[in-house]
């Protein structure tokens, strides 16, 4: 008898709590400090409050963007901004291949295109620090990096082929209400190339570089960093015009309060 009204009230409360100052389709992230996964001199990183897209941008959403912004279509894009793999999943400028799922994360997009997409929405790409901050949460904890289950799940995704073809929103919602940070695709970040990995990961150990994330010489205590090493190695290997099958993106923006 009470079930339905109670549920409605409950849903309303939830909606209220998360609903303030929030843009549609974005989760409010409350800022904080944390030691980044890449162990930057063990210095804390501070993240301001910001908002992050709940889901990665999909093929369908990106298609709409292409229709509105012809200069980013396959045949029009400047070669400087996208390599030959740009939008490979598109038959032509505004049609996806028949095999493509409109609800899968969009991939084969360059950093330039991703950045332009976000700007068209009045947003921006998240920074590495912001992205990693939200991504260190599991379903229940803000910082789950020390949990074996958290790392194992991420690593097993890194080993799962063709996960980019899945639909968004099927992985569990994390602590912040954000989906799919792990489990579908890598994601572009605004400052992805601020991490200097030489490609010779072992050498980075004794480099003066303050980022020794590529280090191979880690002790067992650093196990939790392994998933992050792989992300940083990935970021280190790409360039802004690359368009890769397993690389998508989502947008972020500053919180209204902090503006």
């Amino acid at each position: 008898m009470f079930a339905i009204p109670f549920r409605a009230v409950f849903a309303y409360l939830i909606f209220q709590t998360f609903g303030f100052a929030q843009t549609d389709g974005m989760a409010s992230i409350i800022g904080g400090r944390y030691v980044p996964l890449y162990g930057q001199d063990t210095s804390l990183v501070e993240v301001q409050d910001f908002e992050l897209d709940t889901y990665p941008v999909t093929n369908g959403q990106f298609l709409q963007f292409l229709k509105d912004n012809p200069k980013w279509q396959k045949s029009n894009v400047l070669k400087l901004y996208a390599d030959e793999n740009y939008l490979r999943q598109f038959k032509n400028d505004t049609t996806l291949n028949d095999t493509e799922n409109p609800n899968s994360p969009v991939t084969h997009v360059s950093w330039f295109a991703a950045k332009a997409y976000c700007e068209c929405q009045g947003k921006r790409l998240p920074t590495i620090d912001e992205w990693e901050y939200v991504a260190m949460a599991d379903e229940v904890t803000g910082d789950a990096r020390k949990k074996a289950s958290y790392n194992q799940k991420i690593l097993s995704w890194y080993e799962t082929p063709r996960s980019d073809e899945r639909s968004i929103g099927q992985t569990p919602k994390n602590y912040w209400g954000v989906y799919d940070l792990h489990g579908l695709v890598w994601e572009w970040t605004l400052d992805f190339n601020s991490v200097l990995i030489s490609g010779e990961s072992r050498k980075d150990v004794d480099k003066d570089s303050n980022l020794f994330c590529g280090s191979a010489a880690i002790g067992a205590t650093d196990l939790m960093n392994y998933a992050a090493f792989m992300r940083y190695a990935f970021r280190g290997s790409i360039k802004a015009r690359y368009s890769i099958k397993n690389l998508g993106f989502r947008c972020a923006k500053n919180s209204k309060e902090t503006l």
Binding site: L155, E159, G199, S201, S215, Y226, F234, S237, K245
Partner: protein
Amino acid sequence: MKSILKILSIALILSAYGCFKSKKKVHTNTEDIPVHREMKAELTSPPNVPRPVGERKAKKLIVEMEILEKEGELTDGVRYVFWTFGGTVPGSFIRTRVGDEVEFHLQNHPDNKLPHNIDLHAVTGPGGGAESSFVAPGHEKVFSFKTLNPGLYVYHCATAPVGMHIANGMYGLILVEPDGGLPIVDKEYYIMQGDFYTKGANGERGLQPFDMQKAVDENADYVVFNGNVGALTGDNAITAKVGETVRLFVGNGGPGLVSSFHVIGEIFDKVHIEGGDLINENVQTTMIPAGGAAIVEFHVNVPGTFILVDHSIFRAFNKGALAMLKVEGEENENIYTGEQYDGIYLPEGPGIQEMPTTDGVVESEIPAQNFEEQMKFGKQIYMQTCFACHQAEGQGIPNAFPPLANSDYLNADVNRAIDIVLNGKTGEITVNGQKYNSVMTRQMLSSEEIANVLTYVYNNWDNNKTVVTSEMVNKVKNK
């Protein structure tokens, strides 16, 4: 100015020419070996190797290596996501000669998740090429190097986390032959050991993820030749004929374990220690470091199946480090006779020991009182006597030792099973559709013990729950 240069260069050429003439080894400095023309390198998947270089001159050699991340089988029913150079573990074999200018194309397949690179131990230069070959999925990197030192070298991926990339199978061999090539032999094969670390224990089925902690502890679940447990056994065994000389290019990718490489029933006539110039002769077991290699050669004189193992022996019989070389041809009794005599041995003198009473075996002092005790005692015997070949879960070893678990052969005939334990078994049998041709020796067990161990086997692993009694055993014994 120009003329001075000219004179200088002529002087250089002359002095170099002098060098050619005076020594058989044409270039004291292999850096100076000139290259003639361009050629696409032939790459082969294991256990095959490309054609020998022979007398060919140094060339510009184009190597195209594709990186593939793909799911495969570690052993029956155990899946694993391998990261590979060229689609196989170990990666494709690269064969060059000293002085070659290798133009290396590293291609990272677009479906791959991760960036990779390659460190070839044959490269003289920072990172062994790793620095110049760091490549994102869907991209290709090119770098060139000159092969300065002849030998057999390991290559591997060196992208962070390095250990994980290697543990997932990213290693292979590159051979740099000396001027004029290695002496031609009859058979050449490519074998590479690697250790694997899985979340589940050895034999646990399904797709097994990589286990970082076990890798750090160097606690391998699988140690295998050529990427999986059965890669070189049964129908996949390498072969030779009596009278032939076999050369094995043996590498060890690691990441963790050093290999004590041994061929049961053969002595290596020659070993290029650690893949270098130094040759040792008449070697039983040669050490192959992780990230190292050796070239071993031997002449096969008699027919039979020769087992290649890592002589850290539990790795061979329990973790998979076992391969087979099948040699066909005429028996040669001057070298090996086979069994000539099977009789009773009675030691003499003061050290005479009391002979066992019942057919060489003492009956257990405490006979099993009931089924539970039979199972308990049977398990003890199983673990002492049967486990090494038939394995903990009765799964056997593919292509070598037949399974006892859910075994049609076992369940078909209990008296035959008793007979095999009593008297041993040789020759081909078919178990669950697979052919086996091994030897099981007669087991020195009492009737009571045989009854217990067979009861244990029949009442486990989906077998037909036969209860074997010592009377049944005695009946077969006295037939």
